[in-house]
Amino acid sequence: MGNILTIANKELRIYLTTWTSYIIFGAFVLISAFFFQQLVLDYQLRSQEYTQYQYKDMLAQMNLTDWVVAPLLSNVVVFFLFMMPILTMRLFSEERKTKTLQLLMTTPVRPVEIVLGKYVAALCIMLIMLGLSFFFPVLLHIFGATSDGTTPLDWNTITIGYLGMALFGAASVAVGLLTSSLTESQIVAVISSFAILLMLYVIGAAARGQEGVWEQFFQYLSITTHLEGFLRGMIRLPDLVYYLSLSFFGIFLTYQVIEAERWK
């Protein structure tokens, strides 16, 4: 346990003292701010329209949680898809390139501790990113309050939505960790994890032309369909299992790769 923290601590130190993380954080805030503004404007426009034409049913359905926060998070997903490979690419590739993996492998640390330490560090950076986007719902909470003082947001749904996002992030970090362990080239690592994540993202589209079992199969593989439940405030077992097993497999295979280093 101590060794895991030592490794994680070192990784975090490098993450937080080099530019890459801050550039990604900055880009992330900028892009989500843009999406947020568009979504709020759109919301405003529609509610004015509906009030004007007296669409009572439509107005009753409109709320900031489902119309602004949930779509914002679905946009954040796309950003994560691009950025997680970049955040994770150096984890093992750099150590291979600079021969420091040799140092880690010749100190009394078990391979599983190296893998988990690195995973934990990348997970922290992902959570910091996610935390930055939390600013937007808080903004809505403060400025969107109705005149009678009730909160305009359903915080239960939002919390569950963020839980889903964290699980999605954890799974993509695990994929990035794995590709990084396989090569000493960060470029190869970033391209392969992006390719894997993109495949998992678009495979949902393959479900459309299919029927029955195949349709379900492709839908189950899709990394984003499992998020829909969370964004609507529902924790469903298959979704949980999907993200947790993807994370587990990523970590487990990385462990196998690093352990196999001793048997080459």
Binding site: K10, I14, T100, Q102, L103, L104, T106, T107, K264
Partner: protein, 241 residues
Amino acid sequence: MIKIQSLTKRYRDLTAVNDISFEVAKGEIVGFLGPNGAGKSTTMKMLTGFLPATSGTAKVAGFDVFERPMEVKRNIGYLPEIPPVYPDLTVEEYLNFVAKLKGLKGGVLKDEVDRVIKRVSLEAVHHRLIRNISKGYQQRTGLAQALLGNPSVLILDEPTVGLDPRQIGEVRSLIRELAGQYTVILSTHILQEVTATCQRVVIINQGDIVADDPLETLVEKHSTGNQPPSLEQIFLSLTEV
């Protein structure tokens, strides 16, 4: 302290190390010599447990490298060919990190890091990022890392590569000072290094050991006529292809 028995490493159709055996006694400094590509680094990697052997055994401090890797790793300080440093950490952060991995804690850790910083004279740069210090200092940082935790065995793979003449002199005298206290295997293809630091020489060529003698014996064995041969002549005659 170190016992290697018929150690072999084969990569598909290439035999890097071919059935070598030798022993190193406690406190001895052994020069591990050979031309580039002779199998020096491979042997050292197998000794540290970084590479598995195809066959044969290696023991360090009484522990089998392949069966008890954790105990062996606790007893070894290893400086690979390229110093394994993180450019984005400062010298001190780096040494703290390695010390923690070696299981040191609290006050002991701090004292030990201070000790090795003094030992290899890194006081002037210990707050700087490794990326910004010279190659010589990086090499010494690598050496400092190997000394952390006072391991009984030091395995140094070409410790003076890339240093200027003054630094080479400093590192060599440092290694001489380590004699008696540590058991040292030092690989090199620089012959003066051996005469300057080692008591015994093991010469390896194309994966085979071609000589394993104390320096004087080696010279005696190869003398022809009145003039004692230089180590260079011996080396060249032993490693002929």
